[in-house]
Amino acid sequence: MSVQIYTHPSSHRHVTPPGHPERVARIETIDRVLADAPYADLPRIEAPAVTDDQILRAHSSRYLDMIKENAPSDGWVSLDPDTHMSPGSLEASYHAAGSNVAAVEAVMGGKAKAAFCAVRPCGHHAERERAMGFCLFANIAIGALHAMDSLGAGRIAIMDFDVHHGNGTQDIFWADGRVMFSSTHQMPLFPGTGAEGETGEEDNIFNAPLAPNTGGREMRAAFENRVMPAIRAHEPDLIMISAGFDAHASDPLANLQWTADDFAWATERLCDLAGQLCDGRVVSTLEGGYDLDGLADSVAAHLDVLTAHAS
């Protein structure tokens, strides 16, 4: 088995206003990585659209209606100062969330050991009732809820190494002890949540905030002391990764100093845990990462580890 790659052309049609960092060029950059050896040989699967019923496991019907009603026929609609919808955004959002649903089906069904969803818009800031931080649907949460409600997964660990705290994922699973959510992120920074003291109603949230200007050494300590023991204790049936690459030293939206090797190290630790705990099942999905060179190097490093893990 190898790692499956989920993409969809609609990711290119979610167009943000000029100068916006979460831009089409990000997915074009990843496309170029995927077009080169050795990644060109990985199985590519076109992500299906998520169904409304699958979305409604993570969001309210009022929220889903709001997203649909705001989809513009031309120009942009701004849901907040960061988060915009273009005419192609609704379709892209359905396929971004759908990629996570299809990926968990493949991995839980034994068709793949690991999967990477290279889609946009990203999802980890989208709360049950609120779009924010460039995110419309909570892609990874929708995938996790599908794995638990339809595919028999009893417990899931979600690890989010995007440089911004995954407030949306935390919000959706705050009182759901089936999911253990851990996050490394710069603090202080957007969205302002992610303190260690935010532990969830079921003690299922494990935040590991990192000080600005720290690098791989501090991240590795957070993994070893906080993230990995918590994942181990949860005994998950599936490990999911919110793979944001904006902790990279060259990223313009944050001050952490990670290298591509650091992303590889973090991915390797998560794959090792998956091997020990859940027959190696790993589903990873793209979140942030706004420096195109840093994004390309980091995605390649992430894929190298996933590929080795899945083979």
Partner: protein, 82 residues
Amino acid sequence: MTENDKKIEEMSFEEALAALEQVVSSLDGGQVPLEESITLYERGEALRKHCEGRLKDAELKVEKIVAGADGQAKGTEPFETS
């Protein structure tokens, strides 16, 4: 002119501290857009460094006064740091 308009290097310690508290409150409150939060954080860092500099200046001045009051006939003029 508000504290936000004034150049940081021209701020008094009290002004810079108040501006820093405003930055921290905004970042903690989660009301700052993602794109702006890095800029605001970096302003906070600049304010923190300015506050530290003003405190250090004050400490040096205090040391000079103490030294002057210790029997040494050096006068009481302000300590110049640069």
